[in-house]
Amino acid sequence: MILFVLLGMPIVGGLLAWVAGRVAAPSARWVALLSTVVYLAVVAMLWTAAPLELPVPGHWIARTDFPWAPSLGIRFTLMADGISMLLLTLTGVIALVAVAASWRSVTRLVGAYYLTLLWTVAGVTGAFVAMDLVLFYFFLELLLLPLYFLIAVWGREKRRYAAIKFLVCTQAGSLALLVGILGLGYAHDQAFGFWSFNYFDLLRTPLSPAMQLWLMIAFFLGFAVKLPVFGLHGWLPDAHAEAPVGGSVLLASLALKVGAYGFLRFLIPLFPESVRQGGLVVMILAVAGILYGGWQSYGQRDFKRLVAYTSLSHMGFVLLGIFSWTELGLQGAMIGILAHGVGTGALFAVAGMVHERTGTYELARMGGLWARLPRLGGATMALAMASLGLPGLANFVGEFLVLAGVWQAHPALAVVASAGLVVSVIYAMKLIQEVFHGPLAPEVGVIPDAGLRELGLLAGCIAILVWMGLCPGPVLRAGEPALRDLRNGGGAVEASPDWERGAP
């Protein structure tokens, strides 16, 4: 039940924010802020919950289940384990960051903006805890729609183009995923005589090698567009750059993670043999993404585009870790997801803050801002250090673990991927240099330094990155049981077939 409450809270909060916005625009922000705080409180409460005794593999701590379209075996099933909890916490933190970062930058239709923001958060929440594949797909689509509106209504100059490109590309992948999901359900029907889309039922479904390959390709296309995997990343720079601040934060920190989660939770456990055969190809694509993203990032003239390409690079590390399917690699991917989420979200927030003060995102028109914005500059420096993987900050832990894991699987790939660590230094330093160092740009007048809200937001993110970087133990331990269960082939243990149908 608590998961349902968690899901409903951003929805209700969004509606309240919209209503508040019609009454008085500033109040919408406070309502939205309150919603995110309550969301985090519920997530914190979930952390203290005791594990449930369920006859299915895995360590689950919460479950909501009721029939939805029972004639076709579709149930409304939400479950949370260690991985989900970590991702839900990330969602709560990022929601807070997004709301706080948009505090002053949104002036039109404030209520509707926060409604759209919070409903995206609801969609992401649902995607992270759905255990019925059709329901997961439902939430996957559901989070795309508010994001589309966020970009199309509150974005920058090329927003319409970017928004439709984003939606069409991700929808194309998602529809391939849908075919895969339906194909899996069909295979289950062939094998067991009834339709079911429950995650555990589908794990148990026997698949012929050809079927497994095709379904894996379908699933791969769906998640690869979202991650995005190198080659299918065309929508990424435009969508990130043209979105408003809150939209960029949500896109980079949450929407991309849903793709990674999809790989982790669904693709690999459902199709282990095909992954074993094709995994090397994906890992090569991941390494290509790491290097390409870093290289492209260096050449960008727009602040947000630069950060967007760093997303491609970092998610390459995450993908690499996941497909190495070693314990170290998976742990590294998990930390990488969290670290990138917080770090890049904060960087987009910084982009918004600089834009508020200088009116531009173009790097050529910035420069020497440290003289005017020492506190903001310092915070950005810390975030850039995190992005480039400085030891002591979370990203380093993630990347190091991933490389260690990949070394166990394919040493050559690890060597090539580690070049990514060098490339990231180059783009991170370029960012700092172009924005904060050098001569002061002539158009810059008197601008205020980072205020309490902005500094608090950035300090919080940096604190999280430092904490995860210096003592990653608790985070690693939280995700470890779930990751270990996934690695051991989630469906190997037989579960009682009547359980999922709500039998007492």
Partner: protein, 482 residues
């Protein structure tokens, strides 16, 4: 008819909705003859439709009942009849507001629309070739006049003539096909057609089937028999377009679903042809819609594509296929009626809101209508949380279940294409506060507003909780016509 050929009370009860409609037609004619105002005539028509809907309950209670040899009032047929009646009621209410304040006679409109609705009900419960043809003509002939109703508009007249000639040809094909099938099987009963296909002369059988399918495909506007669609939709008044897009197509589709999915012989014979029609319709419809800036033409081409999507289920096994198609049809009806209804509220017979530019900034002028249009577009595109999403899901499920992998892939690719033109409306609607043509004063058009609100709510509720409707349809589909 009862056993001895006598009509008994149960027959009347089962037929009561259709009888109510027929009474409504007489009623409108009488009020017209007496010289009542247009508003009164419309009110009589709306009342007749409402009564017919209410009489569905007693008709359900005696279902399944067969009125030999013409009708079979089984659960599925009655469901589609109910859908048709609801659609016709919505169109009638929208029409009443569309013609509001327009000088000149329009009372005949209501009468003609009622006759067409009656034809739709006849087709969806037909069990005999005669009732099938009768129903199709009952739909078609009033449409000739309805399409050309705006006599001063060149487009309208052209559309009417086009439809007259082409629909006449379609009917001729259908009639010839039915004649050949009779020659092949010796029976005019449709249920006997496919089961006795084995011992029939193959030439007559295949020829008859091909011609019948061609005639039906014309009415359904499946490619390559779709050329008339865009011009007719554009030229007809907005509510008539809504009627053609939903009720006229829906009744023929209902007939097809009831028979083709249930008789294995028929499905196999026609499977290849239907696969071809489905794939071609999906692709042609979507590609042609991409280039359109006229909204009516765009929706016309997209309706071709939607019928193509629906054709996927025909080779699948009932009850999954029929239930999926039924759900999809409900979502399609609601979305099309909502879209045309919203456009109709922005239009008058002299100046229709047909172009994309007419929607500019609609979200600021008429936020309610903008919301209705956006929900309708999302449902047609198949994006949650609308009914169209589940409709597409169920249709895909039926396709996967019957192994129609090629059609499934074509559907998926076409859905992506469809996104592009459905979503094109949204930025235009949300555009800044541009000055566009002022909308008419609709403060008194509460009937249309109520219809649109109900349709939008239906789309969203079904999009969040599709279970009950799907379960009901599955139960109905398990007991189809024998």
């Amino acid at each position: 008819m009862g056993k001895g050929g006598a009509v008994n009370a149960i027959d009347f009860l089962a037929l009561s909705p259709l009888l109510a409609l027929a009474a409504g037609v007489t009623g409108t004619l009488l009020t017209l003859a007496v010289g009542c105002s247009r508003r009164v005539v419309f009110r009589v028509a709306i009342t007749a439709l409402a009564i017919a809907l209410g009489l569905m309950a007693p008709a359900w209670s005696v279902a399944p009942h067969s009125i030999q040899p013409l009708f079979v009032m089984d659960g599925l047929g009655l469901f589609f009849t109910m859908l048709i009646l609801a659609g016709a009621l919505a169109v009638m209410v929208l029409s009443a507001d569309y013609f509001r304040g327009v000088p000149g006679p329009a009372g005949e409109y209501a009468c003609l629309l009622l006759i067409a609705a009656l034809g739709g009900c006849v087709v969806s419960t037909a069990a005999h070739m005669a009732s099938l043809f009768l129903g199709m003509e009952l739909i078609g002939i009033p449409l000739y006049a309805l399409i050309a109703y705006r006599r001063d508009d060149r487009n309208g007249l052209e559309a009417g003539i086009k439809y007259l000639v082409l629909a006449g040809m379609g009917s001729a094909l259908l009639l010839m096909g039915l004649a050949l099938l009779y020659a092949a099987t010796g029976s005019l009963q449709i249920s006997g057609l496919f089961s006795s296909g084995a011992d029939a002369e193959p030439v007559w059988m295949y020829g008859g089937l091909a011609l019948t399918l061609a005639g039906l495909a014309f009415k359904l506007a499946l490619a390559p028999l779709h050329m008339w669609t865009a011009d007719v939709y554009q030229g007809a008044p907005m509510p008539v377009t809504a009627f053609i897009a939903t009720v006229a197509k829906g009744s023929v589709l209902a007939f097809l679903l009831r028979y083709l999915t249930l008789s294995a012989g028929g499905a196999e014979l026609a499977a290849g042809a239907l696969t071809f029609l489905a794939a071609l319709s999906m692709t042609a419809g979507n590609l042609l819609a991409l280039r359109q800036t006229n909204l009516k033409r765009m929706l016309a081409y997209s309706s071709i594509a939607h019928l193509g999507y629906l054709m996927i289920v025909v080779p699948a096994a009932p009850p999954l296929a029929t239930a999926s198609a039924g759900f999809y049809l409900v979502a399609y009806f609601a979305a099309m009626l909502a879209a045309f209804g919203a456009l109709g509220m922005l239009s008058s017979p002299e100046a229709e809101a047909q172009n994309l530019a007419d929607l500019r900034g609609l979200a600021w002028r008429r936020p309610g209508l903008a919301g209705v249009l956006i929900v309708a577009m999302l449902s047609l595109a198949g994006i949650p949380p609308t009914a169209g999403f589940f409709g597409k899901l169920y249709v895909l499920l039926a396709g996967v279940d019957s192994g129609q992998w090629l059609l499934v892939v074509v559907l998926v690719v076409n859905s992506v294409i469809g996104l592009c033109y459905y979503l094109r409306l949204i930025p235009v609607i949300l555009a800044g506060r541009a000055m566009a043509r002022p909308a008419r004063d609709f403060s008194s058009a509460w009937g249309s507003a109520a219809v649109l609100i109900v349709l939008t709510l239906l789309l969203i509720v079904l999009g969040l909780y599709p279970g009950p409707l799907m379960a009901w349809l599955s139960r109905l589909a398990g007991l189809g016509p024998g």
